[in-house]
């Protein structure tokens, strides 16, 4: 199958046709949405199976001239970095749609599912696009459906939150658009300009130091807001609190990754000097995010806000791993993105399941749920442990590799032996806020009004089990995944640290 990646982008769109036709019948809507996302998931796994492990370069590439006069192409492909993020996306979308079909969405189901399918197009496209313009289109395409999902199906303060989400993200991505135009103009003379990644990498030797400094800032701000890095994170807790459960799963699980992915895919290979110039700031902000996110998580009263702030801390490990510019850090960062997708996605799923039953999200209103929900307690406990980085579960592998990469990274003021131990404190803090939350929610005496609430349903289990399996597998046998990531990641690190180019740009 030669058009595999295009098919991945088209299938959710194709699903819209029956969705519109059967929009009046909720049952049919659910079936269409579930089937579409299931086919998409299966196809993404097929893509993974087609992928040749051990090759660094892009595979399954498709390239069609789109706006030839401008040198803009429809250009897609996968390498070791994106090939795992795509199935992660399709799985989390499938789970979101599956969970939403269980009755959590009370109105406008057809519109809701439409938003999810469109969202999936955007998310999958972001990880596949190899042309900056195409990437930008998908990057923005993710925004609209999520804006609607929060704004229409969200909680009481949904308008404020969704507007905040959009304005923050839009501010970043517009800066990126400026950056893209700048890169386009700098990529060559009129007629030979391009936005295709491989050709831009060829052309990057002509990017001056000044140019790289500013363009990296433009791209970096867009990605930093998306991730989000401190101090651009305050849209995240609000958006999560108001978003419906499935929206939170996809927002935390996939949308944030677009930021980290953007750094690895475009910012690092294209602007090595910009990377060097901004490196101290990025390392500092990453470590601040790890510690600050954890400290603020500890005092949250709202369960969803706690998980949201913990995301800030976990994504701090991602940026830290990326910017220490070595293999261990980079592979750790990519693993951390996957792990965070599965684990935090699961945590939001569990918070949502709990909320559907008790209608309470304030930690103080909960307690003793372990008495009535043994299955829920066990599974939620596993994800909490994965999130706090227990060896044997997935969180540990990524965080340990990032820490290892940080320790051996000499390129910041004070050196890796300063930043590494500092970041490692985040691991202690994670145990504090997560276990404290867990005991307040699950342990203690049960309230009488909760006593008859049922444990997890089959549907909820069906949503949780795949994530559980991945959490364990990625912790126990991470090596097959590392083998997929490593060659491509290695290539990105070499592109970003090419001493000749950095010197040339500096001159």
């Amino acid at each position: 199958m030669t058009h595999l990646l295009t098919l991945l982008i088209v299938i959710p769109l194709a699903g819209l046709v029956p969705l519109v036709i059967f929009r009046r019948d909720d049952r049919a809507v659910k079936q269409v949405a579930i089937t579409t996302t299931a086919v998409e998931l299966a196809l993404s796994l097929w893509m993974l199976a087609q992928f040749h492990i051990g090759e660094a370069d892009f595979q399954l590439v498709e390239r069609i001239d789109w706006l030839p006069s401008l040198g803009i192409r429809y250009f897609v492909g996968v390498d070791g970095i994106s090939v795992l993020l795509v199935p992660m996306t399709t799985l989390l979308t499938f789970i979101s749609v599956l969970y939403s079909s269980g009755g959590a969405i009370k109105m406008r189901l057809a519109e809701y599912m439409t938003a999810f399918l469109l969202l999936e197009v955007g998310m999958v496209g972001v990880f596949l696009a190899l042309d900056l313009f195409l990437f930008y289109v998908f990057f923005e395409l993710m925004l609209v459906p999520m804006y609607l999902i929060i704004g229409i199906w969200g909680g009481p303060r949904r308008i404020y939150s969704t507007l905040k989400f959009v304005l923050f993200t839009l501010a970043g991505s517009l800066l990126m658009l400026v950056g893209i135009v700048a890169v386009y103009l700098a990529s060559g003379d009129a007629g030979s300009r391009t936005l295709s990644l491989p050709e831009l990498i060829e052309a990057r030797g002509s990017f001056s130091a000044d140019f790289q400094f500013w363009v990296f800032l433009a791209f970096g701000l867009a990605f930093a807001i998306k991730l989000p890095m401190v101090p651009f994170h305050t849209w995240l807790p609000d958006a999560h609190v108001e978003a419906p459960t499935a929206g939170s799963i996809v927002l935390a699980g996939v949308l944030l990754k677009a930021g980290g992915y953007g750094f690895l895919r475009f910012a690092l290979p294209l602007f090595p000097f910009g990377v060097q110039a901004w490196l101290p700031a990025m390392i500092l902000l990453s470590v601040v995010a790890i510690l600050y996110g954890a400290v603020v998580s500890a005092v949250q009263k709202d369960l969803k806000k706690l998980v949201a702030y913990s995301s800030v801390a976990h994504m701090g490990f991602v940026t830290l791993g990326i910017f220490v510019l070595n293999q261990q850090g980079g592979v750790g960062a990519v693993l951390q993105m996957l792990n965070h997708g599965f684990v935090t996605g699961a945590l939001f799923l569990f918070v949502g399941i709990q909320y559907e039953k008790t209608h309470r999200r304030m930690i103080a209103d909960l307690g003793g749920l372990a008495n009535i929900w043994p299955v829920y307690t066990t599974l939620f406990g596993v994800f909490v442990l994965a999130s706090l980085g227990l060896p044997g579960l997935n969180g540990f592998v990524g965080e340990f590799l990032v820490l290892l990469g940080t320790f051996r990274f000499p390129g910041v003021p004070l050196g890796g032996l300063f930043w590494g131990p500092l970041a490692a404190i985040g691991v202690i803090l994670a145990a504090v806020y997560l276990l404290w939350m867990f005991q307040r929610v699950m342990y203690g005496p049960i309230r009488e009004s909760y006593r008859l609430l049922p444990d997890m349903t089959r549907l909820e289990l069906a949503c949780a089990i795949p994530l559980l399996v991945l959490t364990v597998v990625l912790g126990v046998v991470p090596q097959p995944f590392i083998a997929i990531i490593e060659p491509s990641l290695d290539r990105v690190v070499r592109l970003a640290t090419d001493p000749g180019l950095i010197l040339m740009a500096a001159r």
């Binding site: 101090p231 305050t234 400290v295 500890a298 442990l385 032996l417 590494g420 691991v427 145990a431 504090v432």
Partner: protein, 644 residues
């Protein structure tokens, strides 16, 4: 047998999976049987492995292979860690102790937990614990060891908080986990620096390259101090000791297995395993010795005045672990492991015996309500008496041989001050053991209602007591004669420092010292016992009068030097205030700025918004505004920055 060494952890893992998946619905009380059988099978394999090591396989590395493929856990660039086991005398001893003691405690638990509604949960987690503990002692590298290290910490957390309906257990559980995590911070730093210096985390590679490259002293000291910090967390040494007494909120078999016999010795095992590193970084060893000694006497003084029988045993454990670190610190790792083994038997027995008493006394743990129980619980009494004798280091019981060797090594290796403190602690130890046993089993019953209903435990609990009593009496003989016993010859190859030089003291002391040192220790123990008997049997002096006379110091001891107040209130309050301030900063400063910016922008939008219908319009509006912004920015940008 050695090639099948992976069966040892595989059995408990299987028991964990079976009990965890099917226990609640289908297996019920069968989970106890399954767990016990699995650990029994592990013990048999461990015995087999032990004898093979004894027969001369002094160092074998057994990689785990799955369908013929070597199990590589994590490998990125020059970093690589395999799942593979190191079978040498040290790990063989540890596997043997862990499986045998675990097996006895599993059997006992079938009786002790029989009426608990979470029976399956207990045996699920206890099986997982044994699995993790075995990974810890079998690992051939620091990272895999860390998997077991954290795994046992998790099981400890789950089992301390086993009765999660009440607040005390789950607070104690969280405290244990968090304090362990603080120690783990040191461990993480230690192993990462080890990798940076030696390029590997395999014990063999690290110690070989230590010989070849002789790294800087400062780096070695950093590594050892960081590792030791990890060890203080897991093994409840100062300043991270205070979680262990609270951990007694867990069921008593858990206290016996995890918080006395096995898990808390992991720190001792870690330092012993790293002997070459510690020997090369000399000053770190002194730190280990001093911390160990201080912890030993610190905890022993607290144990003097506690009234909860399990708390006495808990502080006693902290104190005895201090002895083990003293041994490691003065260059006698063999004595440390020897004491670890004997302690596993007699302290497990003391806990299980306490459990038998608690079981008989309707879950009352306050010794002031006990008394005269030897007539009701003869088996418990006699077995605990043997264990108490062993803990007091009365010859020829097990504790005598191992503890005497530690204290003696402190003296002969040139630490007379630490020796003095060790001897004094020995007297204190004998005192509090005698006090606890007397208050429990002798005198007149002080709570007649409880006493009337007391009854000896069923055979399933008494038999393990008897078996452990035999161990407490006899295990010491593997170390006879001192410095030349079976255990010394057996462990020597595993604990050799670099250059083949044996870390154990090889100087043979003069005859006067050789006899004088044990005599001093025994005399100290007897004095402790005598004072305790005099105080509690004949009230000369009366304990209450002594407490009044000691005044402030007595109150300090009862309140455990106020460490809990300092940690649980001062530190935690401070941290909470800080976190609250951080959140306020987040809301008011960071988010406040963003909102003010948004407010400014929306001023211009408010008027236009009336033209739009519904929320979708806002988005379109943003897009338009954004496009204008872009075009403007682009104009300015292209003119300014990009050079033609």
């Amino acid at each position: 047998m050695i090639e099948h060494v992976w069966l040892i952890p595989a059995f408990p893992l299987a028991a964990f999976l079976v009990n965890g998946l099917f226990g609640r619905r289908w297996l019920g009380h069968l989970t106890g049987l399954i767990g016990s059988a699995a650990i029994g099978a592990s013990a048999i394999v461990a015995i087999g492995v032990f004898f093979e090591v004894l027969a001369g396989h002094s160092r074998t590395i057994v990689p785990l292979t799955i369908a013929g493929i070597r199990y590589q856990w994590i490998a990125v660039g020059d970093f690589s860690v395999d799942v593979s086991a190191l079978v040498d005398p040290l790990s063989a001893v540890m596997m043997l102790v862990v499986t045998v003691v675990s097996f006895l405690i599993f059997v006992y638990s079938n009786g002790y937990m029989a009426h608990d509604h979470g029976f399956y949960r207990f045996f699920t987690w206890l099986s997982l614990f044994v699995f993790a503990m075995l990974i810890l002692v079998m690992a051939d590298n620091y990272l895999l060891l860390f998997v077991g290290w954290e795994g046992v910490g998790l099981c400890s957390y789950l089992l301390i908080g086993y009765w999660f309906e009440r607040p005390e257990p789950y607070f104690a559980a969280k405290k244990a986990f968090v304090m362990n995590r603080i120690g783990d911070w040191g461990y993480t730093i230690g192993i990462i620096v080890i990798f940076l210096v030696f390029g590997s985390l395999n014990f063999g590679d690290v110690f070989r390259r230590l010989d070849e490259s002789a790294p800087e002293q400062g780096v070695l000291t950093l590594i050892c101090v960081a590792l030791f910090f990890g060890a203080t967390g897991k093994s409840a040494q100062l300043p991270l000791h205070s979680w262990l007494p609270d951990a007694m909120e867990g069921p008593t078999p858990v206290s016996a297995l995890i918080h006395a016999a096995t898990m808390v010795t992991a720190g001792v095992y870690l330092v012993a395993r790293s002997t070459p590193l510690f020997t090369a970084a000399g000053s770190a060893l002194t730190l280990v010795a001093v911390v160990g000694t201080l912890t030993a006497i610190f905890a022993a003084t607290i144990a003097l005045v506690q009234v909860d029988i399990k708390r006495v045993m808990a502080y006693s454990t902290v104190s005895q672990l201090g002895y083990m670190f003293l041994a490691l610190g003065v260059g006698a790792p063999i004595a440390a492991i020897f004491h670890l083994a004997t302690h596993a038997f007699f302290k497990a027995l003391l806990f299980l015996g306490s459990g038998s008493v608690i079981h008989a006394m309707d879950n009352v743990q306050d010794m002031r309500r006990y008394g005269g129980l030897r007539r009701k619980l003869p088996w418990t009494y006699w077995t605990m008496l043997i264990a108490g004798g062993a803990l007091s280091a009365i010859p020829p019981l097990a504790g005598f041989w191992s503890k005497d060797e530690i204290v003696g090594a402190a003296f002969t290796n040139g630490y007379p001050l630490l020796w003095g403190v060790g001897v004094l602690t020995g007297a204190l130890t004998a005192f509090y053991v005698t006090r606890a046993l007397w208050l429990t089993f002798h005198g007149e019953p002080r709570d007649h209602h409880l006493y009337e209903h007391a009854h000896e435990s069923p055979p399933v609990m008494v038999l393990p007591l008897a078996a452990l009593a035999v161990g407490s009496a006899l295990v010491g003989f593997i170390g006879v004669p001192p410095e030349g016993g079976f255990i010394h010859g057996f462990l020597k190859p595993a604990l050799e420092a670099r250059g083949g030089e044996v870390a154990e003291a090889t100087r043979s002391p003069a005859l006067v010292t050789a006899l004088g040192l044990p005599a001093t220790s025994v005399a100290a123990g007897l004095i402790g016992i005598a004072i305790a008997l005099s105080m509690y049997v004949r009230h000369r002096p009366d304990p209450a009068a002594v407490a009044r006379a000691a005044g402030a110091y007595y109150r300090i001891l009862v309140n455990k030097y106020y460490v809990d107040e300092l940690y649980d209130h001062r530190f935690v309050d401070l941290a909470r205030a800080f976190a609250g301030a951080a959140w306020a900063f987040d809301i008011h400063i960071i988010d406040g700025l963003a909102n003010r910016l948004g407010w400014l922008l929306s001023l211009s939008g408010t008027g236009l918004r009336r033209l739009q219908t519904g929320v979708v319009g806002n988005y379109a509006l943003s897009i338009v505004a954004g496009l204008l912004l872009v075009l403007g920015a682009y104009g300015a940008y292209a003119a300014g920055v990009i050079k033609p």
